[in-house]
Amino acid sequence: MPPLNPTDRRELYEHFQHVIEGTYDQLLEDQELNYKQNMLKSFLVETNIEPTLLEERFDHLTLEELDYSLFEVLIDTSSEEDDEDLLTFYLDSQNERFWTFYSIEKSRLAKDAMEDLIMAERSGLDYLWFPAQLQRYFTKLGEFQGAGINYDAEDVFSEEYIDEYLPFGELSIQSSGQGTSWLLDALSEADLKRFMSLSSVKIRREVEEGVVIERIDNNGRITTRGGDNIQAHLSFVETIRELYADLIRGIEKEGRIGYPIREIESEEGERHSSGQSVEGTPIVINLVNSVDDLKEFADSFTSATKPLRLWGVGTWLADDYYKIRGTDLHNNDSFTLEIKRDWIRLYLPDDACGNTALRIFSNIQRYYDAEASFGERSDPENSEVGLTA
C-alpha cells in the first residue's frame, strides 16, 4: 500500500486504486467493510472561486498544493465537545467550474464537512443538483443495481400544509438488487410517481478501463463501492460532470434574461446610450402535483431555511396567479417566480448561475413533485439529457 501522504496525482490515484480494490474484495467476501475501512467518495462541487480563496473564506481549512491543480485540503471539525478531528480531502480543480473533492474519511463525517463548506453563505461553492431526469439517465450508464427514494416535503412545508394538501410528509425507500427496477415500476403504476424522488442510484459500470460499482447521490456525491481500476472511476466522474455541464450551458445560453444596451445617434451625430433590448426567456416548470394553495406553497419555498435558502416576498397577480420576487441567499442571485396551479415560470438575470435554476428545479422535485419537468421550450439545447416530461 503506497504512503497515505501522496506527493503527486499519480501517487494519489495509486492509493485510490488500492482503496477501491480493497472495498470491492471486502464487500464481496463479507458483505461489509472492515473497521476503519472506508469507501472512496468523490464530491462534485460547482464553484466560482479560485482554490486559494478557500483558506481565506474558511478559518478551519488549510490548503497545500500537491501537484498541478491538485491540493490536499485539511478541515478541522473539532468542537468544544469533540477532540480535535482533522479530515483530509483532495481537491482536483482542473475543471475551473466543477471541482472534485476526494475523500476516504468516514461517510458521515465527510458529508457533514462538505455540507458546512458548501452551505456557508456566499461560500462560492454549491452542490450539483441532479434533476430526476438526469438520475434516471445515470441508470443507463451501467447495470442498474439499486436506488434510493427520498421525498421530504416535511423539510420544506409546515405540518398543516402537509395534512391539508399532501399524502406524504416523508417517503423513504432504499432498494438494491435486481428487483429494484420492478419495484420502481410497480410504484409508478400505483400512481406514486410524483413522490418518487430519486435520491441515489447504484450502477455497476464495466468499461474498457475496468469495472466500478458506483452510487451517485442527487447532489453530486459519488461513492465508489468497489472496482478494479481507478481510471474507470475517474472517467465516470468526468462523464457525469460533462452531462451536468451541458445542462448548465444550455440553461445559461437560453434561460436567463438580459437587457443589452442600445446606442442611438442624435441628429447632431453624437452617439449616446438610449434604450435597451431584452434577450432570453424564462424557464417554465410544469407540475403534475398541482398546487392548491399558491401563496403557502410560495412562502414555504422562500422561507430562507435550508436546504433551499431562498428568500422572497410575494403578491397576487390574479386570484390564481402568484408572484415571488426573491434572492438566492446562497449566491445573492435574484430571481422571480410566477406560480400557477400547474406550472411555474422562473426568471433568472443574465449574470445568474445556471446552477440556481437546477437547484430550484431539483428541489421542487425532491420536496414537492418528483414528476416536475421543464417546458419544451425551456429544455436545454444540445444536452443528451432532456428535462421535459
Binding site: E121, I257, Y259, R262, G314, D319, T336, E338, K340, R345
Partner: protein
C-alpha cells in the same frame, strides 16, 4: 409591455404568435428625434426577414395630438428609425413600419383617431373561453398582412401574462410590484455592501433593469415613489431587520434563517398594508 414582449418570446405558457412571424424586441423606450420631432415609443418590435417594425405606445387614458402627428411622421419615414439607431439589422430604405396604440381600455371609444393610419390594439381579460384576448379595434389594420392576420390572439386558461420583463411602471396599478422589487433590491444591496443608508437611485437601478434608459420624467416619478417607500420602510422598522442580515464582518453562519424570516414577515405586513391602502387591481380586474 410584458405581454407584447412575451408574444415575441418562446415561452411555453404564453403565445409566441409574434415570435413565429419573426418579430423580436428591438428596443424598449427609445427616445428618437425624427425630422426635428422627439418621440419615445414604449416598444419597437422588428421582424428582420420581413423588414418591418412595429412601434407601440401603451396608453391608459391620455393621448396627445402632437404625439399622433409625430408618430405619423415616424411611420412615413421608417428609414429614419434605422438611421437613428432605433431599429437594427435592416437596410433603411427597405424598412416599413406600423404604429399602434395599445391599451386595456378601448381607446377608439375615447378618441377619434380616424385621421391617422394607426391601429389600436386592445387587451381584455376573461373573454369567453380565453384568459386574455388581444385584438385590433377600430377600422385601421396593420400594413404587414401576416401581422394583421395574427390577431385576435387568445391566451387560453392555463397560460398567463409574463410580468417580469418590465416589472413596474410609474402607474398606480404597479405599486405593489414596485414594492416587492424594491424590498428585494434592498436585500441584494445589503448582501453586497451593507444597508446604511440606502440611495434611492441605487435601489431603483437594482430593482428595475431598465432604469438606466428610462425617461427623466419617469425617473422623477419613480424616485418620488422610492422616497416614500423608504420612509414607510423605516417607519415599519424594516431597516432594523435588514441590518441583521446585511453583509458585515461576522461569519456567514451568523445570519440565521430566522432573521431572514422575521424580515420576510415584516415585508409581508408592509405589502398587505400597501395593498389595502391602495386597493390594488390585479391582472384580471382590467
Amino acid at each position: 409591455m410584458n405581454a407584447w414582449i412575451g408574444l415575441c418570446q418562446l415561452d411555453d405558457r404564453f403565445p409566441d404568435t409574434l415570435a413565429k412571424l419573426g418579430y423580436t424586441v428591438d428596443i424598449i423606450e427609445p427616445g428618437i428625434t425624427i425630422q426635428g420631432d422627439y418621440i419615445q415609443p414604449d416598444l419597437i418590435l422588428t421582424a428582420h426577414r420581413r423588414k418591418h417594425s412595429l412601434l407601440l405606445d401603451f396608453k391608459s387614458y391620455r393621448l396627445k395630438n402632437h404625439q399622433n402627428e409625430r408618430y405619423e411622421t415616424a411611420v412615413q419615414n421608417p428609414d429614419q428609425l434605422v438611421l437613428r439607431g432605433a431599429v437594427q439589422g435592416v437596410p433603411p430604405e427597405e424598412l416599413s413600419a406600423d404604429f399602434s396604440y395599445s391599451s386595456f381600455g378601448d381607446l377608439t371609444d375615447m378618441y377619434d383617431l380616424t385621421e391617422f393610419d394607426f391601429t389600436t390594439v386592445q387587451f381584455e381579460a376573461h373573454v369567453g373561453e380565453a384568459n386574455l384576448r388581444i385584438e385590433i379595434v377600430g377600422s385601421e389594420r396593420f400594413g404587414e398582412p401576416d401581422l394583421d392576420d395574427a390577431f385576435p390572439i387568445e391566451v387560453p386558461h392555463g397560460k398567463d401574462i409574463p410580468t417580469d420583463y418590465y416589472p413596474f411602471d410609474a402607474e398606480d396599478e404597479d405599486r405593489t410590484q414596485f414594492c416587492i422589487y424594491m424590498l428585494n433590491a434592498a436585500i441584494q444591496l445589503a448582501g453586497e455592501s451593507g444597508s446604511d443608508p440606502f440611495n434611492v437611485d441605487e435601489l431603483l437601478a437594482e430593482a428595475h433593469k431598465l432604469w438606466g434608459s428610462m425617461s427623466e420624467e419617469k425617473k422623477k416619478e419613480l424616485r418620488t415613489w422610492g422616497e416614500k417607500f423608504l420612509d414607510k420602510y423605516n417607519q415599519k422598522g424594516l431597516d432594523e431587520h435588514l441590518r441583521k442580515v446585511q453583509k458585515d464582518d461576522k461569519p456567514a453562519w451568523f445570519h440565521k434563517s430566522s432573521s431572514f424570516q422575521a424580515l420576510r414577515n415584516k415585508a409581508d405586513e408592509f405589502i398587505n398594508d400597501l395593498e389595502e391602502d391602495l386597493g390594488q387591481k390585479k391582472l384580471g380586474d382590467f
